[in-house]
Amino acid sequence: MAGLAITLGSGAMTNSVAEVADADVIFLIGSNPTEAHPVMGAQIRQARKRGAKLIVADPRVIDLAKEATVHLQLTPGTNIALLNGMMHTIITEGLMDKEYVENQTEGFDALWEIVKDYTPEKAAEICGIDPEDLKFAARLYASGERAPIYYCLVVTEHSTGTSGVMSISNLALLCGNVGKYAAGVNPLRGQNNVQGACDMGAIPAMYSGYQKVSDPDIRAKFSKAWGVELPSTPGLTSIEAMNRAVTGEVRAIYIMGENPMLSDPNTAHVEKALRNLDFFVVQDIFLTETAELADVVLPATCFAEKEGTFTNTERRVQRVRKAVDGPGESREDWAILAEIMRRMGFDPGFTSSREIMDEIARLTPSFGGISHNRLETDPVQWPCPTPDHPGTPYLHKGQFSRGERALFRPSPYIPSGELPDDEYPMLLSTGRLLYHYNTPTMTGKTEELMEIEGRSFIEINPVDAAKHGLSQGGRVKVSSRRGQIESEARVTERVPEGVVFMPFHFADGSANVLTSSEVDSISQTPEYKVCAVKVEKATHQSA
């Protein structure tokens, strides 16, 4: 998010999902859509079937890698080297969109200053791939008339994630691929309403619509509308808040609908933070691992039991409608919060989900034209400033959100915070499975899904498996500097030698016990994707 906000002026996916149908070259980097975003994955396959070319950069042989025009099987954590190498090829071979770069961007000289060191040979060596493949991919991407780039967590969940995102933006700008149909820079957001949670100002530095807390005029606007003095001191991110809970500076935490005990990296640290609190509230639909530590647990309704909206990855605001009543005394999330506000002597100012959206529209320019009534028939994409505005299928058309020009913000390749060594010789990468979703709070309740994929496993290359005496289905002890777990070996060539992969969904053998809490210096995203581990045959061979 932070990366694109700096280079383009908006952190959101630039283009629409369905536009992929008209793309001619598709570049997937660190994204496994057939598992994590299956309906997007299907549309990429449709495009491929119609003849679109496909470049896949991923350490694993994901399903789409098998169907790709070229698969760059790079070492985890080396995206920036790859992107810099591709840009080197595009610039030196004269394949860049010169007119676009001259008229619509700034910072090209600074870009070249960094990128010039990344010859295809040097970049390919860092990434562990063939330089010819790198050059082929660069030429292919540059040849695309409509060439969208899709990426997701694999890019952002590195300690250099923000630089990685900015490097993707650099590549797209170099080829004039931002601000046009069926192209762009497209982060595929992980959860159903990540886009919406950020849009709504559930982030420390911004109110709804990315209006800065530090701007006195904005603060005055919200202050007047809400009838209360508002704080100007910057807030803490969740990672910082956890750190300060350990030191005792943060004494109370209120968590709505999250399960950091399973989803955050470095579980031991999270548990220590939460146990150290004087007061801890969790509002959720199940008694999650996190809720079990709370002082108060408040029962909420789920999506099928409430009215409201979600904003999807392409900025489209769509209705959520109540189909059934919530169980027992459960209440809608907003209604619980509004009641707490009332009891604190603060008038929430609304009595229904519809009225909340009306307030959002009044105070948020990019949502100005959005209301539940309109969404009934017209689920628009923000920015949508007025009721007669048609919404925005793709961003930066004619002008960037940032202003006249987009910015190149180059970055050198910096090795991951924790690399393999003699003691922990393997790189662990974590990710999602088709049959699950984050922590299996929801999918785990459908027993058929648990039958298909019900417990932790670790993918390991046959060469490494042989080296460590591991057999298909055997129990494995996996340890890192932070902890150790047991899992089941899946011996497969989906992962290259030296790399192991684990899904992060399962509480038994939870991969996040192992992962690192190194965070990206700009976005504070934890580094899930790369950490060093060692694998051994477990003493007990049954689960």
């Binding site: 159903n192 950020c198 420390p204 007061f279 008694l287 059934v324 999330d333 506000m341 009891r343 604190m344």
Partner: protein
């Protein structure tokens, strides 16, 4: 624009519009079996035939584009007889044990048999002895109810692009299945369920559909709560309980769903759902009233705010709940508590 006449009604249509699409524009309903939006017109079932003045034969409306001055008739004796004949042919080897079929009430074949006045099949063939495949965890496949419209095959190959289903055999031996007569469980099927959603009969049916009939259901259009593609779908509700999900034609999903959207709804009324507030007493979380729980929350937050200032309190909102919930959460943290320490799991 082209000028056409449908049952005496004149209208203008864009070049490339099919007769079927033109009929939809003026609200004339045409029966279809193989046709499906977002799939290329196939014209194989021939149920949608209409008469075009001057043309030698009846025309397949889904696969015939309008021409200038076309005069189209959508129902007369000839058309009726033709469509009736098609349904009779399809019924010849169809398992018509409709009482026990979960699709009764929404089956297109059943509907057209009624519409075209068929009381019993005119043609009879030796009952087929296909294998029923119940190995998928979410749905069953009964070839005796298949009408070979190929919707499932096309959605699997052209839209999901998973290449699991195909057609094999010839003539009366033609059957939808998997290469080498594999069962679903041994195939590369990813259980997206899109074949089930498009099946016009009960040949591909969810296991759950045995427990309801279509007329018992209420449908609620909503947005999927799993990944961020934002697929549109209808929740199927029987007696206050979600019993199934059908895809809807949203901007980003165009009628598709994945295994999670289609089948992972059982968490909704799971017995482990929280039903009352809980307060920790003597080290244990124990049921409490809302009044008690809310006062407890407010008292503690206010006490900590007074003692250590608002920044001693932090809140994590959720990328799973609605925009309205998130907005309210940040308003509570900033407005009522007075801190900017509000975040969500976007980073996770």
């Amino acid at each position: 624009m082209l000028n056409v006449t449908i049952d005496g009604q004149k209208l203008q249509v864009k070049e490339g519009t099919t007769i079927l699409e033109a009929c939809e524009l003026v609200g004339v309903e045409i029966p279809t079996l193989c046709h499906l939006k977002h799939l290329a017109p196939e014209g194989s079932c021939r149920m949608c035939v209409v008469e075009v003045e001057g043309a030698r034969d009846l025309k397949v409306s889904c696969a015939t584009v309008c021409g200038e001055g076309m005069n189209i008739t959508t129902m007369n004796e000839k058309i009726h007889a033709w469509r009736r004949f098609i349904v009779e042919m399809l019924l010849a080897d169809h398992n018509i044990d409709c009482f026990s079929c979960s699709d009764t009430g929404k089956c297109k074949l059943y509907q057209y048999a009624l519409d075209y006045g068929i009381r019993e099949p005119r043609f009879k063939v030796q009952p087929r002895d296909w294998q029923i495949d119940d190995t998928n965890r979410f749905f069953d496949y009964d070839p005796h109810k298949c009408i070979l419209c190929r919707r499932c095959v096309r959605v699997c190959n052209d839209r999901q692009v998973n290449h699991t289903l195909n057609l094999s055999g010839r003539g009366i031996d033609t059957v939808v299945g998997m290469p080498f007569n594999e069962l679903f469980i041994d195939s590369n099927c990813v259980s997206c369920g899109n074949c089930v959603s498009v099946c016009p009969t009960g040949a591909l049916a969810t296991k759950a559909s045995k427990n309801y009939r279509s007329w018992e259901l209420a449908k609620t259009r909503t947005t999927c709560s799993y990944c961020a593609v934002g697929c549109q779908m209808d929740l199927l509700v029987k007696k206050g309980k979600v019993v199934g999900v059908e895809p809807a034609d949203g901007h980003s999903n165009k009628g598709l769903l994945c295994v999670k959207g289609k089948f992972a709804y059982k968490f909704i009324d799971h017995p482990d759902r929280l039903t009352t507030p809980l307060i920790r007493k003597d080290g244990e979380l124990q049921p409490a009233s809302w009044d008690e729980a809310l006062d407890y929350v407010v008292d503690n937050l206010q006490k900590i705010k007074t003692e250590s200032g608002p920044d001693a309190i932090a809140g994590f909102s959720s990328s799973r709940t609605t925009n309205e919930d998130n907005y309210t959460f940040m308003k509570m943290m900033r407005g009522a508590i007075g801190t900017n320490s509000v975040d969500n799991c976007a980073r996770v």
